[in-house]
């Protein structure tokens, strides 16, 4: 996996009606019926499998895609599967207005890039926009339109560049 600070890819905008989908909990991302799975490569097929409107996400997603959602993404349980299922599909990053606290940790520790864009308007970006995500600066953009969010924290950046918490620990 590359460790670029600038990512480019196709944007999946998760919406509920006209608004960015908020409060997507870990059972919607990765249902508890599949928690016994421990191999990451087998988790991709269940990604968003319990989210209304996106149950076929795993079939339609392409490696390199970037996900955009609303507030409190990944609330609920502590399951790492809810991060790993996206990595398994080759999804490059998840962007949200805000994340559930445990989800945020899990993503950071597994070296999976996430970006918080507090206050992002619902309709600034559209489904399948080809976007650029600057992790260093915390900016999501497509051509002229862009939105500034929170830059990656130092801990998150160090762990991301190392490739995960254990790899980071080896460098300490």
């Amino acid at each position: 996996m590359t460790r670029d600070m600038i990512l480019r890819g196709r944007l999946w905008v998760l919406k509920s009606g006209e608004n960015l989908f908020s409060d997507i909990d870990t059972d919607m991302i990765y249902h508890n019926a599949h928690l016994a799975v421990t191999e990451i490569e087998k988790m991709g097929q269940f990604a968003l499998g319990n989210l209304d409107g996106y149950k076929d996400f795993a079939v339609k997603a392409q490696p390199g895609d970037i996900i955009l959602t609303g507030d409190n993404f990944g609330s609920g349980s502590s399951r790492q599967h809810a991060v790993d299922c996206f990595a398994a599909l080759g999804v490059q990053a998840v962007i949200a207005r805000s994340f559930g606290a445990i989800y945020k940790r899990n993503a950071i520790n597994s070296g999976f890039p996430i970006m918080e864009l507090p206050g992002l308007p619902d309709n600034l970006f559209e489904q399948f926009d080809e976007v650029e995500l600057d992790l260093e600066k915390g900016v999501l953009s497509k051509g002229e339109k862009s939105f500034n969010g929170n830059p990656m924290s130092k801990v998150a950046r160090d762990i991301y560049l190392a490739g995960g918490l254990f790899q980071y620990a080896e460098q300490m």
Partner: protein, 417 residues
């Protein structure tokens, strides 16, 4: 400037003067994993743990509570993979008979006020109930804690909430927690630690504190801290000096007052724990099943109360009443005191200790269109099956089981025994 409870606990466990916003490496007193993500923790340690994957075996243990005993082959495989790993490294396993891990940490007094606990249970912040720090984490974090004894943490900002007044008779800790969810929704406290004050908090039993703090996760909070009151200090047999309290000049990011005076029983309608309204507004909803238990409402106090309400009454025809004590110790006390008999005679199904209705399948799932009243903490779509789950306290759960529709404990009193 003084420090909040979470700043003090993190300072004492890192050696630094930790303030909100700092990132610190925190030493963990209790490093746990449950049966769900435990096998992945083992997998990480086998991959990255080298020859010494366990920092301190006295502080490291597994708790099987989700799928107990395993009712699918994959869960059975995962549990046994953990047992074999634990045998190899001489680690304690609280096996499928033991009950909910977070409750065992309190019951066995590993998690005294001021200590730190992590595990793969997202409700481990229940430790806030005794003025301790606890946090649920994913399998990478937990494997790291097993191997090194530490995890990094961004010290959270603390919000101070004062609960003013005393709730009405028949209103429980669960209702007070639901009042918090009604006021703050599920993301207004996102990423914050919360400290609770007020007359209700000062008098709460340790079981009330457990119920109340267990809902912090649903409030989006990192932890809901209850400064240890006399009941909690008495349980651990320690003095005030041995517990951790905030300084009088501690810095809070926000301060709120929530009036709970005369609060009546509340219920969270599907599909969100923050979708809260008075029980009395739902009296036309027919109920198919009732679940009593979970880390939120599975204590001895909770089930004793349920048994007392059920004594001499019957569950309505066609209603399932599922009861799951939180721990084996709770089971034992209920058995010795004859309370299980009251639940049984009323028509209840009693399962072995564990997480019960929240995890898939220990005591069954709900089917499409099935209406369940549950004393647990989550009613997200698909969480407890395909049906619709309402979250409520013990009194509402029992009254709904007996009357066959959503009802408060006040209505139950009209049913003759």
């Amino acid at each position: 400037m003084g420090r909040t409870i979470v700043e003090k606990i993190m300072s004492s466990h890192s050696g630094d003067d930790c303030r909100a916003g700092d990132v610190a490496w925190i030493e963990i007193d209790n490093r746990t994993a449950r049966d769900f993500a435990g096998a992945s923790v083992v997998g990480n340690l086998e991959k990255y743990g080298g020859d010494s994957p366990i920092d301190d075996k006295q502080k490291t243990f597994f708790t099987f509570d989700c799928n107990v005993p395993a009712n699918t082959i994959p869960y059975a495989n995962n549990q046994h993979r953990i047992r074999l790993f634990a045998r190899k490294y001489d680690l304690k396993v609280f096996d499928v008979d033991a009950g909910i891990g977070s409750h065992i940490v309190i019951e066995d007094k590993f998690g005294k006020p001021g200590t730190t606990t992590v595990g793969t249970d997202s409700h481990l912040n229940i430790m806030g109930s005794v003025g301790a720090f606890g946090q649920g984490m994913g399998d990478v974090d937990i494997a790291y804690a097993f191997k090194t004894g530490n995890v990094w943490f961004e010290v959270p900002h603390t919000v101070k909430v004062t609960l003013e007044g005393i709730p009405a008779q028949g209103t429980e800790a669960k209702d007070v927690a639901l009042a918090m969810l009604r006021r703050f929704n599920n993301h207004e406290l996102l990423g914050k630690a919360v400290e609770f004050y007020g007359p209700w908090v000062e008098k709460a039993t340790i079981e009330d504190c457990i119920t109340f703090s267990s809902l912090a996760t649903e409030m989006g909070a990192i932890i809901g801290m209850i400064p240890p009151n006399d009941n909690v200090l008495g349980f651990f047999d320690i003095s005030r000096e041995e517990a951790v309290y905030a300084d009088s000049d501690a810095e809070y990011s926000e301060e709120y007052i929530l009036d709970i005076n005369g609060l009546e029983p509340l219920i969270a309608a599907p599909p969100s724990p923050s979708n809260v309204s008075p029980v009395s507004e739902h009296s036309d909803v027919k109920v198919d099943g009732v679940f009593i238990g979970s880390c939120t409402n599975g204590t001895y106090q909770d089930l004793k109360y349920a048994a007392e309400l059920l004594k001499g009454r019957k569950v309505a025809p066609g209603v399932m009443l599922k009861v799951v004590p939180a721990t084996r110790e709770t089971w034992s006390r209920l058995l010795d005191e004859g309370l299980l008999k009251d639940i049984f005679n009323a028509g209840g199904i009693i399962s072995n200790a564990g997480c019960g209705g929240c995890a898939s399948g220990q005591i069954g799932m709900t089917g499409e269109k099935e209406i369940q009243v549950s004393t647990s903490n989550r009613n997200f779509k698909g969480k407890q099956g395909r049906g619709n789950t309402y979250l409520a306290g013990i009194g509402t759960a029992v009254a709904s089981a007996v009357l066959g529709r959503i009802a408060s404990v006040h209505e139950l009193k009209e049913v003759r025994t």
